[in-house]
Every structure is written in structure tokens, then in C-alpha cells.
Amino acid sequence: MISIRNLHKKFGKLHVLKNVSLDIAEQEVVVIIGPSGSGKSTLLRCINYLEEPSEGEIIVDGIPLNGEANINKVRAEVGMVFQRFNLFPHMTALANITLAPIQVRKMPQAEAEKIALDLLAKVGLSDKANNYPEQLSGGQQQRVAIARALAMKPKVMLFDEPTSALDPEMIKEVLDVMKALANEGMTMVVVTHEMGFAREVGDRVIFMDEGRIVEEGTPETIFTNAREERTQAFLSKIL
């Protein structure tokens, strides 16, 4: 589904991603962990071209990311959920969800609204369709953001620390939505420090440090039996 080959990313002199190669299969749930500044967000953002790779190749669903023409096509297939939700504050939850299907997919409004209401039901927010983001709690906002991304019927979902801006009591409601999504067979790449989530739904855990993939394996192996010292050191701090 996603194939990354020898990816490099530099911000000026700062070399943030160093020769990253990674294949993600259809329906796979990949969890990325690693210390702050290790390049996790940058890697995710390269996958939908929010950051332009300095070197290397990224192929999403058979479409190589190589020019402006392809970018919007790929982005429409790749949903992204941000740490700080990034809902559109001047629009209701419903309008947040229907905007892209109407503008990008040219879907009729009635159809887009029907899909949006179904998605809101799915994330448990049927009664919030006409609320503005400001009237929603953080957990509710993040669930609307997930519904917004799903409305484009993406083939892959990217999550960048989706629960780390949330109060503890709201984390579960967002993780539950993500779990349900994983169980339906969505291909997912998730940057998170929620180890319980990683264990329960992750097919593979990737540990990144200083712009490199240091180690990868099943959650079980990484959490109980990491080979690399750096991985062990990191895990001992967060587990």
C-alpha cells in the first residue's frame, strides 16, 4: 500500500530523516514510536507530501509522488489526523466533514451530508452535527477530525499523536474509534505513545531515533524483547 525507498529529509542543514525505507501492507496497522525530535512526524508528513522529501521515493497505492499533479490525488487517498485536531473553527462539525467530499470529489451536498451523518454516528457524535468545534471537548473534536478524514474514503489513515493533546479521560474514546477502524481493516500508520493501543491493535512497531529506523518487529518482540540498547532505553522510560 505504501512503499518508501531511501527517503531523506533535510531542513536546511538539519538532516531529519536519514535513508528511511519502509513497506506497509494493505490492512496493516503500523505504530511508530521514538523520542521527541526523532523524525516521526516528518516521516508521516512526507507520506502525504506536507513535507517535500529531499531524496528518495514514496509510492502510495501505486501512485508515485513525483509532481504537483499527483499530490492532490494521493492526498485524497491518504487521511491525516493531527495532534491538535485542526478542525475548521468557522464551520459546524457537519460542514467540516462535507467540505472536502463536495469540493474535491464533487459529491452532491445531500449525499455528502448523508455520509457525514453516518460517520458521526460511527464515532458516537450523532447529536453534535450542528455544533461548532469550540462547543466540543477535545476528544469530541478529535473524533470529528477522524470522521472528516474518513469522509474522503481514504485507503490509508495517518495519525500523528492523536491523543497527546487530550485530557486522560478523553483518550479512550478516541482510541476506541481507532481500534474499531483497525478492526474494519483500515491501513493505518500511527505515531503514539499509547503502548496499550500498540499492543492491542498494532501489527508492527517501529522504533525511530535520530532520523533512522532503529528496530522494528511485532509489538510483543519490541516491548518485551528489544534487541537494540537504544530501544530498551527508550522503552524503560515510557513503559
Binding site: N72, R75, N86, A100, E134
Partner: protein, 221 residues
């Protein structure tokens, strides 16, 4: 010195006509300025280098030269190049619009840049183009924030429009001059002219306050 109140009463209708013209120039100029400013600010923020350079040069030129000189350039210098005289009204509106456009462009740019970067990223990540994201997400949010500085620009333009009196265009200041030339009532007339400007700017600033408060409430939802 004796104060000729009668003169004020007699001149008032003429001065009001002038004030009407002043409002007209201001509204037209800021109106065109808004159009120019929106495109110029987008050009300044775009990734297309020549467009960006051109927009930056325009803004720098206008903000770095006096409006009076810009008026002279259009009214006196331009006809030498084109060979046709320009109507004072057209020259006044053109000069003021081009001038206002540069200031409005900076207001727009600041407004757009004040919107969280995550908004553009969220729009783009959904597959929307830069233009679509600007139109549906960034600009509607920026508009609310630029109401106060736009109000200030309107007030500044209203005052600066007195400069077009130098090319003989009969707005408020010019009317005052003409009346004084006939009546020598310098003190009374300039006082009245100042008072009329004050009433206009005061009204506009209250109007802007009102709009601002309304949108603030609107923002809360």
C-alpha cells in the same frame, strides 16, 4: 476678530456636497483597494517567484512614496507618456485605489498569516488545492480578523483623500478652499471642514467597533 456664524450656515450645504464626494472617493478607492489588495496579498504569499517579486515591489513602492507624489504621477506625468489628459475624478480614484491596494494587501497578508498553519495543512491533507483551501478555510477566518485594520485604513483614506484637492477635484477640502477664496472666511470654514471630517471618521470608527463586536460574538458560537 468677529466670528461670522452666518457664513458657516450659508456654506454648509456646499461643504456637505463636498463631504459626499469625499465619501464617494474613499468608498470607491478602498473598494478597488480591497480587490487589488486581496490579489496582491495572495501573490505575495504564493510560491511563484516572479509574481511574489512583482507584488513586493508594488507594495514597497506605494508605501515608500507620498500619496501626493503618486497623485502627481498619475495626473501630470502619465498624460505625458500616453498623450491624453486624464479626468481629475479618474486620476483621483486611480491614485487612491492603487495607494489603498498596497496597504490593504499588507492587512490581508497579516490576517492570512495569523491563521494557524494547521488549517492550511488540514485542508491540503484532505486533497483540496491551495486555492480551495484559501477560499473555503483561510480567507473566511482571516476576514473577521482584518475588520479593525480595514476600518483604520478606511479612516486613513478618508483623511488622505483631501490631497486630491491639489488637482482641482472638488471634494470637501477643495470646496472649503473655493469658499474661502470668495469670502475670506478662513477661520470659520476650516473649522467647519475639520468638524465635518471628524464627524465622518468618528462615525466610521464606531461602525467598525460594532462590526468587530458582532463578529467576536459570532466567533464564539
Amino acid at each position: 476678530m468677529n466670528f461670522d456664524f452666518e457664513l458657516i450656515v450659508r456654506s454648509f450645504p456646499l461643504l456637505l456636497l463636498g463631504a459626499g464626494v469625499t465619501i464617494q472617493i474613499t468608498a470607491l478607492s478602498v473598494g478597488f483597494g480591497l480587490l487589488i489588495g486581496m490579489f496582491v496579498s495572495l501573490a505575495r504569499l504564493s510560491k511563484i517567484k516572479p509574481l511574489k517579486l512583482l507584488a513586493t515591489m508594488y507594495v514597497d513602492f506605494i508605501r515608500g512614496t507620498p500619496l501626493l507624489v503618486q497623485i502627481f504621477l498619475i495626473y501630470f506625468a502619465l498624460p505625458i507618456v500616453t498623450g491624453t489628459r486624464i479626468d481629475p475624478f479618474v486620476a483621483a480614484i486611480t491614485a487612491c485605489s492603487i495607494n489603498s491596494g498596497a496597504y490593504v494587501a499588507e492587512i490581508f497578508r497579516a490576517g492570512i498569516q495569523s491563521i494557524d498553519k494547521g488549517q492550511m495543512e488540514a485542508g491540503r491533507s484532505l486533497g483540496m488545492s491551495w486555492t480551495q483551501t484559501m477560499r473555503f478555510i483561510i480567507l473566511p477566518q482571516a476576514f473577521k480578523r482584518i475588520i479593525p485594520p480595514l476600518g483604520n485604513e478606511f479612516i486613513a483614506m478618508l483623511k488622505d483623500s483631501s490631497l486630491v484637492s491639489v488637482i482641482g477635484f472638488e471634494e470637501l477640502t477643495r470646496r472649503g478652499q473655493l469658499i474661502i477664496a470668495r469670502t475670506y472666511g478662513s477661520f470659520e470654514i476650516w473649522l467647519t471642514v475639520a468638524f465635518i471630517y471628524l464627524i465622518m471618521t468618528f462615525t466610521i470608527s464606531r461602525l467598525v467597533d460594532f462590526l468587530e463586536r458582532r463578529y467576536k460574538i459570532d466567533d464564539k458560537h
